[in-house]
């Protein structure tokens, strides 16, 4: 495997968009127990326009790392820089989040949800409607602008969630398992759509996932993390340009990378399971 900082698809001269510098995260243990080390000395540079997937066993701190990058959690040690600025809080002008659950507010219509997102971000006045409708059209949901989220299926909601993330026009989008709640087929379709959208917009994306196939299909680089405490175990390049068609999944290159990933993850997953068993048996009287 290659531990190369370059994205196969991007030019090597691209500027660094996100610099994660020796980040560690400790969470206080439950009453009396030792603090839990979630992330241990993680360093990573992500270039502009890159699509990076974070993959690793459950509890390896992938989501924590994403929240630290987005400024929603302050790291116990180390720092994150966006461009030249050190992150010390949410940066809504530069970073958008797409979470696993639909975070469309159920008390607003789809269109009102877009207006509120832009308002929160500090974009006032006209033009929001055109931007919102353009984003909805991009994911094929323009006919549902006046619906309430409760009237839509999980897949539709997540599609709109994605559109909302794109609509705020930040350079960076952080996605925390955005397709995890979807069935496999919807997931594939949305993954394809995302690939097409990205080829057009050139955003920097950090995408947390559990799915090997999803990581290989979407990412320019895949960061494999170790079992808790999370460290960077390996970085794998996926040198294929976006948009990627479903045929890419049938290419020999796809299976090779997927198998490499599996080999890397297998040990980590075993370790996580063993740690879980130990915790369980240790808790028994």
């Amino acid at each position: 495997m290659t531990v190369d900082m370059r994205n196969g698809a991007a030019q090597p001269t691209q500027a660094v968009a996100i610099a994660i510098d020796r980040v560690s995260q400790r969470f206080p243990g439950r009453s009396g127990t030792n603090p839990m080390l979630a992330l241990d000395d993680v360093s990573l540079e992500i270039r502009r326009g890159e699509f990076v997937c974070l993959i690793g066993p459950s509890g390896c701190g992938k989501s924590t790392l994403l929240n630290i990058v987005g400024g929603l959690i302050a790291p116990s040690a180390g720092s994150v820089r966006i461009g030249r600025n050190t992150v010390n809080g949410a940066r809504p002008r530069e970073i958008a989040f797409v979470f696993q659950e639909s975070t469309l507010f159920p008390w607003y219509t789809v269109l009102e949800n877009f207006r509120i997102a832009l308002k929160f971000q500090g974009v006032e006045g006209g033009g929001w409607r055109d931007r919102a409708m353009a984003a909805l059209r991009a994911v094929g949901m323009e006919n549902f602008a006046e619906h309430y989220p409760s009237q839509l299926s999980v897949g539709m909601k997540q599609r709109i969630n994605l559109a909302r993330g794109l609509c705020v026009e930040t350079d960076i989008i952080l996605m925390d398992e955005p397709f995890a709640a979807l069935d496999e087929q919807t997931r594939m379709v949305l993954g394809e759509d995302l690939s097409v959208l990205l080829a057009r917009t050139g955003r920097t994306i950090v995408f947390v996932t559990h799915s090997l196939a999803e990581a290989v299909f979407l990412a320019g680089r895949i960061v494999v993390m170790t079992a808790r405490p999370g460290r960077v175990k390996a970085i794998i390049d996926v040198p294929a340009p976006h948009p990627r068609s479903p045929d890419f999944m049938l290419a020999p290159q796809f299976s090779t990378i997927r198998n490499d990933l599996f080999a890397l993850l297998r040990d980590e997953i075993r370790q996580t399971v063993a740690a879980m068993r130990e915790a369980r048996d240790g808790a028994r009287p």
Binding site: T103, F105, W107
Partner: protein, 251 residues
């Protein structure tokens, strides 16, 4: 509910009332049951007409309705204020929510003599009594509304850069509103019942007082007439309140 289902439910409800009144009518007209226990329906009706025509209904309502309004207003203002302040802080919720729900379980009726002692026999004691009863469900529901806002909505709003005011206006408030309104509805009907109950126990005037007095004088038909007015008012209020509440719900 579809139109047809609603119509079906409405006709069932009407049928239920019709059966109830028919049984009442047949039992009192046909048998020897003394009118002291259950008066004849036409007698109750003529009493109602009499009370309305003589202005006694108006006079009693003029005491009771403002009492209920004041009691509910106080309960709502304090209930929402306390509920909001407590509901915003996880620590205060853990500390005070059990205390409040424990107090809600105490029958405040036991303290009614104290209310009379402090506020006199006039409407003021009933205002305080109704407010004390209505306060708890309103406060508890307001706490529940503000403390149970889904964490992922708050996280998303913060990530989108919402200010403190925007977080309140666009996330906390709409998320809590349905629960708070339910609390207001429950609080209103409890205040309503407490004021009327307080008036029947000890009072100088008002509808509750009129019911108690008719009962003491064994004028059962008149007592049923007064009760009839209260039941009618409650039914109308219930319909109005439920309609208002369903308008604020979107799902």
């Amino acid at each position: 509910m579809s139109g047809r289902e609603r119509l079906g439910a409405l006709s069932m409800q009407t049928a239920f009332l019709a059966v109830l009144f028919s049984v009442w009518y047949v039992v009192t007209e046909g048998s020897q049951i003394t009118s002291l226990f259950l008066p004849r329906l036409p007698r109750v009706w003529s009493e109602m007409v009499g009370l309305a025509a003589s202005g006694r209904l108006y006079a009693a309502a003029l005491v009771t309705i403002p009492t209920i309004a004041k009691a509910f207003a106080i309960a709502a203002i304090f209930g929402i204020a306390v509920g909001f302040l407590v509901g915003r802080s996880e620590r205060l919720v853990r500390l005070l929510e059990p205390v409040l729900s424990g107090m809600f379980a105490i029958p405040i009726t036991l303290f009614f003599p104290l209310f009379i002692l402090f506020f006199g026999i006039g409407p003021d004691s009933k205002v305080a009594y109704g407010a004390a009863y209505g306060f708890f469900p309103i406060a508890l529901n307001t706490i529940a509304g503000f403390s149970n806002v889904d964490a992922h909505f708050l996280r998303a709003a913060k990530a989108m850069g919402a200010s403190r005011y925007q977080l309140f206006r666009h996330v906390y408030l709409p998320a809590a509103m349905p629960v708070v309104l339910t609390g207001l509805r429950i609080g209103f009907f409890i205040s309503f019942a407490a004021v009327l109950g307080g008036e029947t126990i000890s009072s100088a005037a008002g509808i509750g007082r009129a019911i108690a007095l008719s009962g003491e004088l064994m004028e059962t038909a008149r007592m049923f007439a007064w009760i009839g007015f209260v039941v009618l008012a409650t039914m109308i209020l219930n319909i109005v309140v439920l309609a208002a509440e369903s308008r604020t719900r979107r799902d």
